[in-house]
């Protein structure tokens, strides 16, 4: 690990510690004894196999969304629309699970997961097209698409895909053949976590050890040099957005076919897309770093739930804590990266010295 990476990790850890300390102070101010709060947090995360299973269940979409963000950002693209891609992927996955029945699990489940990836990637492809061909900012395109898809999914869940006899605004559960088997009995944890780990490792491997990953990093670092030495940078940008969206789509798939209810419900993306950005930020855009970071945020989410149930401290505190972490990490990015030229800088005077004057004045 380079010194820079170490410094980055230190900043992340420090940010988390400061944010947690701040929320402890807030809890103390509300009059709840800190030991009880801590105990509730602990029980929430590790208290029982069920609780720990639930933490890991939340880990799955978080780490996927984060890795999705990492792929795009490494190529210099901002995919703010992970949330929408989760919705798109989940819905596609649900459709396969609901309507393509009569298949054995070994075919049906992979198909459902694949549908999730394709659904997410399709939405990513729209954004990529807008970016590459129509010159629309990638972050504006992905963000706006998210809101369109949110409505689309809400309509599907309330309309065409709604279960006629069931709860309003939800689909029927997908066929059992399309659902992930439970990994640990009496928990919500399903076998999709194994796929997720494989996916994260695959992305890490892709970035470090493959030609495509190399070209992707090169494009993110200096598109002009990449182009001049034979990398097709626009293709890489489009591919990165689509791959990023595909992974978010798999997260969406998990949120449907690996969820306890196993059906399509509006709002099932539950902000995982945006929280994924937090995870990636905390991990400093390293795919492997996303694993501990996502575990931490999943624990916060899960522990925060019990905090609310047991002590009446609302979940909002967990959300706010995440926000403080982001602000601290973003605000101190210059510290960890002070030797690096800034990504996406507009132009001039970034490289003052050795080129001499005139070259870029």
């Amino acid at each position: 690990m380079s010194r820079q990476a170490l410094r980055g990790a230190a900043v992340s850890v420090l940010a988390v510690v400061v944010a947690l300390a701040a929320s402890l102070v807030v809890i103390a101010l509300t009059g709840v004894p800190l030991d009880k709060a801590a105990a509730a947090m602990w029980d929430g995360v590790f208290g029982s196999p069920a609780q720990f299973g639930a933490t890991l269940t939340k880990f799955v979409p978080l780490v996927l969304a984060a890795v999705g963000w990492v792929i795009a950002i490494r190529a210099g693209r901002l995919n703010v629309g992970l949330e929408g891609q989760i919705l798109a992927g989940g819905t596609a996955s649900a459709a396969v699970g609901l309507y393509l029945t009569g298949l054995p699990t070994v075919i049906h489940l992979p198909l459902a997961v694949l549908a999730g990836a394709v659904g997410g990637a399709a939405l990513g492809a729209v954004a990529a097209w807008l970016w590459a061909r129509r010159g629309v900012n990638d972050f504006i395109a992905t963000l706006l698409l998210t809101f369109i898809v949110t409505q689309l999914v809400s309509w599907l869940a309330n309309g065409p895909m709604e279960e006629p006899t069931g709860t309003l605004g939800q689909s029927a559960p997908v066929a059992d053949t399309a659902r992930w088997p439970i990994l640990i009995p009496r928990t919500t944890l399903r076998a999709d976590i194994l796929l997720v780990i494989v996916l994260v490792l695959a992305v890490a491997y892709m970035l470090r050890r493959t030609v495509v990953g190399y070209r992707l990093r090169l494009t993110g670092a200096n598109p002009a040099a990449a182009q001049a030495t034979g990398t097709r940078t626009q293709l890489i940008g489009v591919g990165a957005l689509c791959a990023s969206a595909a992974i978010a789509g798999v997260a969406g798939s998990s949120l449907v076919v690996a969820s306890p209810a196993g059906n399509l419900a509006p709002g099932f993306s539950a902000n995982y897309g945006f929280d994924g950005i937090v995870v990636a930020l905390l991990a400093r855009n390293s795919p492997l770093g996303c694993i501990p970071a996502a575990l931490l945020l999943a624990a916060l989410r899960q522990g925060g739930g019990l905090l609310e149930a047991r002590l009446g401290i609302s979940n909002g505190l967990v959300t706010a804590t995440q926000a403080v972490v982001i602000l601290l990490v973003t605000g101190t990015a210059w510290y960890a990266e002070r030797r690096r030229p800034r990504r996406r800088t507009a132009g001039s005077s970034e490289v003052p010295a050795p080129v001499a004057e005139g070259a870029r004045s």
Binding site: R209, L218, A221, A228, P341, A353, P354, A356, E357, S361
Partner: protein, 513 residues
């Protein structure tokens, strides 16, 4: 060497602008080293120097954008507070930057009002500003459209807006940084008339340029800069253009590189009818015809901005020509391979935040040797990079060090290692030693010579005449987008090339005009 110095003829008149002992260093590089110069009201002073001579740094210091390390700037005898753009403007220094300081989606009126700053008050009176702009525009014969966003205007008109902006700010000293770089010859002629009139009206004008023809056309005196220092100040009327060219391109370092001679091999580069329409303003590049053989270095000399950069881009395939062909024939079987040393290694040559390994592998990563089925082969890659670092003498703490931590010379060595290790048939070296120290320069020259003796063809494009002379077997002199002459090394001398560059400038512009 004694520095010839021409004083203003009427020494009684006080200088409008004087610069005394101004120095500025960026890291190890002394961009300005004790600069002295003076301009009187009514005078046009040309500031001549190649890219990298320190002109732009001086402009930034004069306009208050950069604080000098030492020395002072006086306007009308009063010293200027350093690093304060507002004070510089208030004192009457108006700058027309090479890259216009205009907001593209604003109109001329709005841009002028923006530049006026607080003086214009909180709300800006569009009608009054426009009226004053138009009044000045008519008086000085510089037509502009006041209500069209400047991004929709041709560059010549934008430049006029820049000048008017300065005049509206009551500038008494007008600095123009390479004003002709964006102009067609006709537009330049018009500007020259305007500049003479403005000087006649009492303005002190500093014209920064590296084009000799322009100096002869408008300037009274000329201060020549080289490597951050003033090397001479001469009366334009009494100095021949060749003399100026020699002052400008000379180098303080005596180059020791020896040129190996080998018999030229088969033709490797064949360029015919190469044309690029309107590469700069409405000037065209070409048509250019060239042949370079194996074991031969073709140097391209010329005052910068005469199409050399564009030629390099066309040869490297970064730009697509309007017409004509570039054919590279391989010495062995298969397609011809081209190595490129880009003019600006930071923007086009290197990914600064990535490691030495990553930067060395850019071109060859897809080859069977370094990746199989899209998967990298780290062992081979590392071995290869270690070998390259060794062979090209790159001083780096490690193979995984980000390139931005290395010195300029070592960065350039990485570019060389990458581009030459593929044993290209043709090497295009654009300004290969810019910004490097002497040791690194020698190393680069050695590598180019080694490529040559290995039987490869080379096109060397450089603003350093000494470099071109030292390395080239033949020298093509470029001017106004064309090759005006190709000399054999034997008949090429500094004077001869200087003459061609200077004469060519006038001839070439006549042809285009």
């Amino acid at each position: 060497m004694a520095v010839p110095t021409a004083r203003p003829t009427d020494s009684a008149a006080s200088a409008a602008l004087s610069v005394r002992g101004v120095s500025k260093a960026y890291g190890d590089l002394l961009a300005n080293d004790g600069i002295d110069l003076e301009v009187r009201p009514g005078e046009i002073l040309a500031l001549l120097g190649e890219n990298g001579a320190g002109k732009s740094t001086l402009v930034k210091i004069l306009s208050g954008l950069v604080r000098p390390d030492a020395g002072e700037v006086l306007v009308d005898g009063r010293p200027l507070p350093p690093g304060d753009p507002l004070a510089a403007r208030a004192a009457g220094i108006g700058v027309v930057h090479q890259h216009f300081m205009l907001v593209p989606d604003m109109t001329a009126t709005e841009n002028v009002a923006l530049a006026q700053g607080r003086a214009a008050g909180r709300r800006f009176d569009a009608a009054a500003t426009r009226a004053r702009l138009m009044e000045l525009s008519e008086r000085h014969g510089m037509p502009v459209r006041p209500d069209v966003p400047v991004e929709q205007l041709p560059v010549g008109e934008r430049q006029r807006i820049e000048i008017l902006k300065c005049l509206l700010g009551d500038a008494r000293v007008l600095l123009l940084d390479e004003p002709s770089a964006v102009l067609s010859p006709v537009e330049w002629d018009r500007l020259a008339v305007v500049l003479k009139e403005l000087a006649a009206a009492g303005l002190a004008i500093v014209l920064i340029t590296h084009k000799l023809g322009e100096i002869a056309a408008v300037a009274d005196r000329c201060t020549v800069m080289r490597s951050g220092r003033v090397v001479a100040t001469v009366q334009v009327g009494e100095t021949r253009p060749e003399e100026l060219a020699r002052l400008m391109v000379g180098r303080d370092v005596v180059l020791r590189s020896e040129r190996p001679r080998i018999d030229p091999g088969p033709v490797i580069l064949e360029v015919s009818g190469l044309t690029l329409a309107s590469y700069r303003g409405d000037r065209d590049l070409g048509p250019i015809d060239l042949v370079v053989r194996g074991g031969e270095v073709l140097g391209v000399a010329g005052v910068e901005g005469n199409g050399q950069s564009e030629l390099a881009d066309l040869l490297a395939g970064v730009r697509t020509p309007t017409a004509g062909t570039v054919r590279v024939t391989s010495r062995t079987a298969g397609p011809g391979r081209v190595g490129v040393i880009a003019e600006d290694r930071h923007t086009d040559g290197l990914a600064l935040s990535l490691s030495v390994i990553d930067n060395l592998m850019m071109r060859v990563i897809g080859q069977e040797e370094f990746s199989r089925h899209g998967v990298l082969r780290p062992g081979r890659i590392r071995r290869r990079c270690a070998e390259l670092v060794e062979r090209f003498d790159v001083r780096t703490p490690g193979l995984d060090t980000p390139v931005e931590r290395l010195s300029g010379g070592n960065q350039q060595k990485i570019v060389l290692a990458r581009e030459l290790s593929g044993e290209p048939d043709l090497l295009i070296a654009a300004q290969p030693t810019r910004g490097l120290d002497v040791g690194a320069i020698e190393f680069v020259h050695g590598r180019i010579n080694a490529h040559k003796t290995g039987g490869g063809a080379t096109v060397l494009i450089s603003a350093e005449l000494d470099e071109v002379l030292a390395l080239s077997d033949r020298i093509a002199v470029m001017s106004a987008g064309r090759i005006v002459a190709v000399l054999d090394a034997a008949e090429a001398t500094r004077d001869r090339i200087g003459e061609l560059m200077a004469a060519g400038v006038e001839q070439g512009e006549d042809v285009v005009a």
